[in-house]
Amino acid sequence: MIRNLLRLVWLLLSAWLIVWVLEGLFGVDQRHSILPFQGDGSSRPALFIGVAWGILPMLGIFSPAGPGRRRARPDDRIAVAKVIAVDATGTTINDVPQYDIFVRVSPDSGEDFIGQLRMLITPDEQSSLVIGAPLPVRFSSMKPDAVALADPMDPAVRQALLDWRIAKGLIDPRQVRARTSGITSPADILSVRPTGKRLEGQSELALTVLISPEGQTPWEAETTLFAYPQAIGRLQVGSPVWAMYRREDPKTVAITIEKETVA
C-alpha cells in the first residue's frame, strides 16, 4: 500500500522532471511553465524534486516485495505445511537471525502450494526447523504467497488442525466420532506395529492400547494412528498416551500423544 503510494509519487516526480527537461529543451517562452512549483524560473524546484526523485528508489520501493507480515484474519484457513527450504535473510535483530522459511502447504481442499514466511528464529529453535518438519500455518487462499505460523495452543487452531487431519484421511473415519466427541482417558501402549501405509509424510501404526480410566477396570483396544516420524519415538511399547472413546463404544479408540480436550 505505502509502497504503491511511493511508487506513484516517484512516477509523478519523474513526469515533472521530464516536462522540466522538455520545456528547457523546446520551450519558447520559458517564463511561463505548465509545471506546478515552477514559479520564478529558478532551478530550485527542479533541485528539490530531483533530489526527492533520486532518494525514493533508495528506499527500496522497486525491489520485489517480500512476503510481508501477515495479520491474522478471521477468514484465514489453517493447514499443515512441510518445510522445504530455510534461507537466512542476513538480518539479525538483537542477535536473533531472521529466516525465510519456504513451506509446501497442503490445504484440506485444493492443490498444494508453496508459501513463504519470514520470522526470527532463536538458535535453540533452529534445530526444529529441519527440512520436512511439519508446521501448522494459517493462510488466505487469496494471497497464498505469504503464510503465517498458527499457534497450536489456540483452541480454534486445534480444531482446524483436527478438521484438516480428518479431511486428509489421517484419522480413520470410524474413529472420527470418538476423536471429536469422546471421553479422554490415560492409556498405555501394549504393542506397536507399522502397517506400511503412508499419507502426507506420516506413517500408520497399528496399536494395541490398555485404557485405564480412573476407578474403572482397564480394557484393551485395537486402533490405528498416523504419526509424523518425529513422533514415533513417543509411541513405543509402554509409552503413556491418551485415548478418546465414546461411552457406548469403548472399543473404538482414537489415540493422541498430548491430552486433547473436546472442543
Binding site: L17, V21, G24, L25, F26, G27, V28, D29, Q30, R31, D40, G41, S42, S43, R44, A46, L47, G50, V51, W53, G54, I55, L56, P57, M58, G60, F62, S63, P64, A65, G66, P67, I84, A85, D87, D100, F102, R104, E111, D112, F113, I114, Q116, D145
Partner: protein, 177 residues
C-alpha cells in the same frame, strides 16, 4: 549534428546546480534499479515452485522479460543522469562546456535581459524566445562572471540556429556597450 549534441548538452550545463544535486542523490537509487540483484524473495519462491512442480504456468516468461526491460531502461537513465551531473559540475566550476561552441557557431542577435534571470531575443524567423539564465551557471561567454544587461541595456546573444534554446550572452566589451 554537433548543433544537436551541444543543444542537448547545454541543458545540464545551464542547469548545473540542480543537475549536480540530482546526479548526486539520484545515482545511487538508479544504480540499485539498474544493476540491482535479480534474486529477490519472489524469484526464490518461483524457483522453489518450479522445483516442486507447482509453478503457475502463466507466470514464467513475462515477469523476467519485464525485469530485463526495466533494468535496461534504468541503465540508460542512470548513464544520462550521471553524465548530466558531470556536465553540470564542469559548468558549475566555470568550464565553458557548451558556451564556447555556441559562441563560435551561434547566430548573433540582440536581446534584452530581465533582472538577470530571463533573456528575451528574437530569432531570424521572427519567433520571440524568453529563456532562463541560471544564476549559478550563467550562459555568459567568454567571461562568465561579467555583469551584462544591467538596466535595460541590450545584450548580444548568440544562439544555435536550429535550437535557439542553446544560447550564450556575449560578454565582450564591444558588444555589451
Amino acid at each position: 549534428m554537433f548543433d544537436t549534441i551541444f543543444w542537448l548538452l547545454n541543458f545540464p550545463a545551464s542547469n548545473g546546480y540542480a543537475m549536480v544535486f540530482i546526479a548526486a542523490f539520484g545515482s545511487t537509487g538508479l544504480a540499485m534499479l539498474a544493476f540491482g540483484g535479480a534474486r529477490g524473495g519472489r524469484s526464490r519462491l518461483q524457483s522453489l515452485r518450479e522445483q516442486e512442480g507447482l509453478a503457475a504456468p502463466t507466470a514464467s516468461a513475462g515477469p523476467a522479460m519485464l525485469t530485463r526491460t526495466r533494468q535496461i531502461v534504468f541503465r540508460i537513465v542512470f548513464a544520462v543522469v550521471l553524465g548530466s551531473g558531470a556536465v553540470g559540475l564542469l559548468a558549475l566550476i566555470g568550464v565553458p562546456v557548451t558556451n564556447a561552441y555556441i559562441h563560435a557557431n551561434g547566430v548573433e542577435t540582440t536581446g534584452t535581459m530581465d533582472s538577470g534571470d530571463w533573456v528575451t531575443f528574437t530569432t531570424e524567423d521572427g519567433t520571440e524566445y524568453t529563456l532562463a539564465n541560471d544564476f549559478f551557471t550563467p550562459s555568459v561567454y567568454p567571461d562568465a562572471h561579467a555583469s551584462v544587461g544591467w538596466g535595460d541595456a541590450p545584450v548580444t546573444v548568440r544562439y544555435l540556429p536550429g535550437h535557439p534554446q542553446a544560447f550564450v550572452i556575449d560578454s565582450t566589451p564591444a558588444s555589451g556597450d
